[in-house]
Amino acid sequence: MRDPENATVEVELPADFDEFWAAGLADCASYPLDAVLTEMPTLSTARVIVYDVRCTSYGGLRIAGWYAVPRDRPAPYPGLVTIPGYISEPTIPKEWAELGYAALAVAPRGKLRSNDVFNPGYPGLLTHNIVDHNTYGYRGFYLDVVRAVEVLLDRPEVDELRIGLQGSSQGGGLGISTAALMPDVIRCVAAGAPYLCGIMTAPTLTRSYPYEEINEYLRMHPKDVDRVRETVAYYDGLNFAPKVQAPTLLYLGLEDDVCPPETGFALHRVLRCEKRLHTYPHCAHHAGLPDVMRLVEDFLAEHLDPGTVDR
């Protein structure tokens, strides 16, 4: 019988963890953001204006996103970056704009519209160069979310003091990493069923994808296990979590076969920020969806104040 709340999930913190990510941020900063927004009239509505967004990120690579802003209320707006799941494409965040947010759905490298240069595929991303933390596929992917936040900071209609992050699964995991990398900017994080936490433990607790990709990799490359462990430690949400300062909402399915709840509880334990945890018995990776979205909306509204909310 599993006891997710009390399970031991440990990750070694690399000695140069902070320097590693500082170098990545410095690389991003060496490129002009060069954000280009193109209004998309056929995707816009009476209430929301939609833009195609392109900007330059880590390594000089151009990435994409969808940006949606309210048409029917005055600026400034709180900013919200929505982060996609592992196999999901970012959808146009009209519903968040309808609630009063300037919402940017980022397509990190490898997602459609951001995959001209880097395209490890699905399955594939989780194990792309997984024996080398310097070239691991997720390095640029993580930093692309940071870059999306910088696009919001660059927008005159966005209140730079009210920027939050929202996502589930991979979106939840990268919400944690991004909040840790931008502690002075991010005001709140809503993270569901967070992925990329306890990365080496999770594949021992599930045979579901995407963690099963690691089991497959090690089946073919058993001697690489130490190098894999070294690499993913730089990317593990448990190592980012203590650096998060923003209030954080976590929600977990207690029968989640994709992101085992043991890893979500471990994340909650190491967060030092103001934090809330909602757990859902008999729920798997949906982690309380769709009902939990009302809690997510209320949490974001509490911290980002989008004004009167039309539901």
């Binding site: 509505t45 959808t91 073919m220 008999h282």
Partner: protein
Amino acid sequence: MNFDSYWAAVDDELAAIPGRPLLDLVPARTTDEATFYTVRLTSTGPYRVYGNLSIPAGDGPFPALLLTPRYGSVNNVPHPNDRSRYVVLSLMHRGQRLANEGFAAAYPGLLTMGIDDALSYIYRGIAADCLRAAEFLMGLSEVDPARVAVSGDDLAVLTAARRPRFSAVRVTDLLFYRAMETRLESSHYPLEELNDHLRAGSSAAVVEGTLSYFDPARHAPAVAARTLLAVDDPDWCASLTAVLPAAEVYKLTHLDGADNDFLDVWLAELSGVRPMSRFVVG
């Protein structure tokens, strides 16, 4: 063109072009429980589509499971639990990743691609891809022809209707069913694509006419298999349930661990294999 002649033409096009399957072993996904292959097949167009095929270890024949593609660029690899019990084939339709040579589907965009003419609508080809996958799966010697199931969204219903040798249909989502009504309820994608398309000037009557060829309620009377509809609102689906000859309805609880287990048990019992929960490892 009426409904029957529209789909008869798809069948004729498929019959005229051989599938020419190519299988490649995938050692990383091959275990003591099952052998894993990638598959490439020719569908209408001609277009080469992709599948993940797994065959259980041991002496067959085995029950089989076709997983029709979801709406999105990626479908997950079949779960090891399914690989240990079924000959399982998951399809990537034209334009999805791994089947995007020459044509990469856009999201948003795929749902309305070519929708102003039923003959050019992208889902005509996608449906053909599903039918080709069904033909391939049913032709494998390891498959027990009396125990072949299909699982997915409306495409599963359509596939079972057009290839009546299926014994079970498990419907876990609906995309085309009453789509022109559902699109008005929110700005959720993918149905918001219909709203985007109509705002750009297309005719609602034309769009509705095209979608009608894919309405599962029109295909349902031809489904001979036992069918499970897992839905939020059974009342909303009443007009579909009423025309499925052997339908059961499961009202989703949104306790998705429990829902997943129910769906697994339903198919396992029909297929004569043991139920397995994905949350239980070992």
